[in-house]
Subunit: 445 residues, 2 copies
């Protein structure tokens, strides 16, 4: 078959070669896709478990339709149970409960309203009936759609509003034809309730994934990432060879994940508030406080981002200057990162240890030392120059020299000084995180 590959074969050969390439390309693409999927599955087995749960739930609900007695009772409306399972089953318990409650409430309210309006319409004669129905659909659909734009409604009842419009128009439209509207409504509501409660049970009992726990872990993970990122950044800036493990590109870039986590946090916090008490969390655990913690973590990550650009900046302080501040900056960096890790641990275990207080104290004292060092830095530089120059120059030349040398070293010092002051700002923001974590502890009590 290697003959086919030679271009001498002409048009036919080329076409075959082209098709071969296409097929190989397709196979490779599919292989790549499967590999990605496999990596995803290995990376987070909970996702696979969720998929199996959906499969089981759907198969079991289908039995409702297969079994004759249930078929007789619920009739064609059994498909609403299947539909409910497909649409309502989400990967976290909170999201499933949110969708379930919204679906049931939306269906019930819309059904009751539609029945009422249908009755009024049927009383007002054949001419007015379609007009009343059409006008009510128009008004309610517009108003409900508008309410979905209001942030507070969107956060809690977005899906319910959608289901409200859906059910209202379906009942109104089918009400025009089908006579046994009440029995239909009863059947539909009962199948939906069966479907939703089934979903809630499966999602809560079989390997549950709690949105609240996810939010909780996300905050702790973000703190860890921030700590590693910070440590790697400071170590890299001062070329600290002792800390080879820390200078890892993946660690260094960790803050980027943190900066982009807002959307996930918001949705998790929205779902978490629907969840019952689980694990160490009570019902109505102060989930909103996690958003505040998240915001303060992102504020800190923003500063770490600025710190990171000092690494790649064109203006770098000369090595001999860096060395002067190297020790104290590395100390501040490591105390920042250990305080952040302590906070992550406090969050994870939900227990405030003496170690947290201690690490914050250590952070404060190291920052004070850095500020002191910064103050004495020009003095020591000038002194160095004094002793160096004194030996080689005359008394009256020295004055001139000192000011020139200080001038040069001040410009050279600026990148280092801004690195140091960014580091101090990072420490201030870490205290902000500590404050938010403290507040959470108070609220959760």
């Amino acid at each position: 078959s290697s003959e086919i590959l030679t271009p001498e074969k002409g048009l036919v050969g080329r076409v075959i070669f082209g098709i071969k390439c296409m097929v190989l390309g397709l196979v490779w693409k599919i292989w790549d896709f499967l590999k990605k999927a496999w990596d995803l599955a290995i990376d987070d087995p909970k996702k696979v478990i969720h998929c199996l749960k959906v499969g089981i739930a759907l198969t079991v609900v289908s039995l409702f339709y297969y079994m004759r007695p249930l078929y007789e009772g619920v009739g064609r409306n059994a498909m609403w149970a299947v539909m409910t399972v497909v649409v309502v089953f989400e990967s976290t318990v909170g999201a499933t409960i949110y969708k379930s409650l919204n679906r049931v409430t939306g269906t019930f309210l819309a059904g009751a309203l539609a029945l009422g309006i249908h009755w009024i319409a049927s009383q007002s004669g054949e001419k007015f009936e379609p007009i009343i129905m059409g006008a009510s659909i128009f008004l309610l659909a517009s108003a409900t759609t508008f309410s979905r734009f209001i942030p507070s409604v969107k956060a809690r009842f977005d899906y319910g509003a959608l289901i409200f419009i859906l059910t209202f128009s379906l009942v109104s439209v089918s009400g025009y034809r089908v006579e046994k509207l009440l029995t239909m409504a009863y059947h539909r509501l009962s199948t939906i309730i069966i479907g939703t409660s089934f979903c809630i049970f499966i999602s809560m009992l079989v390997c549950p994934v709690w949105a609240g726990e996810k939010l909780h872990l996300l905050a702790a993970q973000n703190l860890d990432k921030l700590a590693n990122s910070l440590q790697a950044c400071v170590a890299l800036y001062f070329n600290d060879d002792n800390d080879d493990m820390a200078i890892d590109h993946k660690n260094l870039q960790g803050y980027k994940c943190v900066l982009n986590s807002k959307a996930t946090e918001d949705s998790m916090a929205n779902f978490a508030r629907w969840e019952p008490a689980h694990g160490r969390f009570n019902f109505q655990h102060p989930w909103r406080q996690y958003l505040k913690i998240g915001a303060s973590i992102r504020r800190c990550a923003c500063c770490v981002e600025a710190l990171n650009t000092c690494l790649s900046s064109e203006n770098q302080a000369p090595e001999h200057l860096k060395k002067q501040l190297s020790n104290i900056c590395l100390r501040v960096g490591s105390s920042c990162s250990s305080a952040t890790k302590e906070l992550a641990m406090t969050l994870k275990t939900m227990k405030k240890s003496a170690k947290t207080e201690f690490s914050i104290e250590e952070l404060r004292s190291s920052v004070k030392d850095l500020q002191k060092e910064l103050k004495s830095l020009p003095q020591s530089l000038v002194n160095q120059l004094h002793t160096a120059k004194a030996q080689q120059s005359a008394e009256n030349e020295q004055k001139e020299r000192v000011s020139t040398s200080t001038a040069v070293s001040l410009v050279e010092i600026i990148p280092l000084a801004s690195f140091a002051s960014l580091l101090i700002e990072v420490s201030v923001r870490i205290e902000g995180i500590a404050f938010a974590v403290d507040e959470l502890a108070k609220l959760a009590d």
Copy 2:
């Protein structure tokens, strides 16, 4: 009625008072809610138009059911047209097209597959039929649910995958009972196609809201906000009274909006790629480039955030030092903000003007001047001190004094120096934005 308010009335009075308070509270809450909704409507009339469009579309589709000829043809499946309109009609054209195409494709694929499997199952005897059906539902539902976790599938086909599972299980389940499966499938697909094409037409023809245009405007708005925020921040730092208009709290906080815009941008870019050519945008306009622009804008906003904290920092440079750099920093600030505004204009009009180049050049030269000024700053400070001290102290004391005074002023200078170097970093990032905008212009050609 004021008598009721007195506490002497006892229990009954208190109960009435409590009820009154509750009712008043409720009325106030509803009033507040309505006021918020009204503000929202005034703020963005396009949202109101969208709601009216949904109302009209739903009312018109309901006519499909009212009219007898259509009822005879399409039968009970007409409700699928209503359902489609409710679920598919989104506020932007791109989102509507995305959902429509996903819905039609998902329904068609799942329907065809379900029919095939149903035929195989019916050939294999009564015993195996439910087993084959159950196994296929389980496998397909699990696999498709898993595929929704894969980022590339989630971005483009999330809704399609949901509809695939939904249709497959509905057809499988109903196939067990209903004989005329093919006609039903045909009717259902045709009603869905009617519903979706209706939605697409209405959303495209009646006051269309394009996701692409929204994304485009969002980027330009973010640039404007950033420019205002930057200008306000620099002006406030140097207490520049000439720029009273700029020092507006709302302007100052503008960068926060920018930092939080990632989620909106992502979804808009996802929807925009489904949109046909409109206005100045071709089909397959390089929408992904807007994400890059957005990322570079956020990088810059991050830096502006760091700049902002210099305003509230405890360590402030003394006023006389600030004055030394005030003019040049204000110049850099205003050239940064005018360059950003120029870039916003370039984005808005999609035309690169000579002014943009010019403003970037001006930015570069002002930054160079700032760097020069920073270099000469210590020199000029020392010179000032020289002349001041020389008059009052002896020749041999002076040496000592100079170094001490320089030491003090260096520590005092650090906040100012880091403000200046952050400002320089902002200018570097603005050039990053300019680069991304340039790339967009090249790609769009």
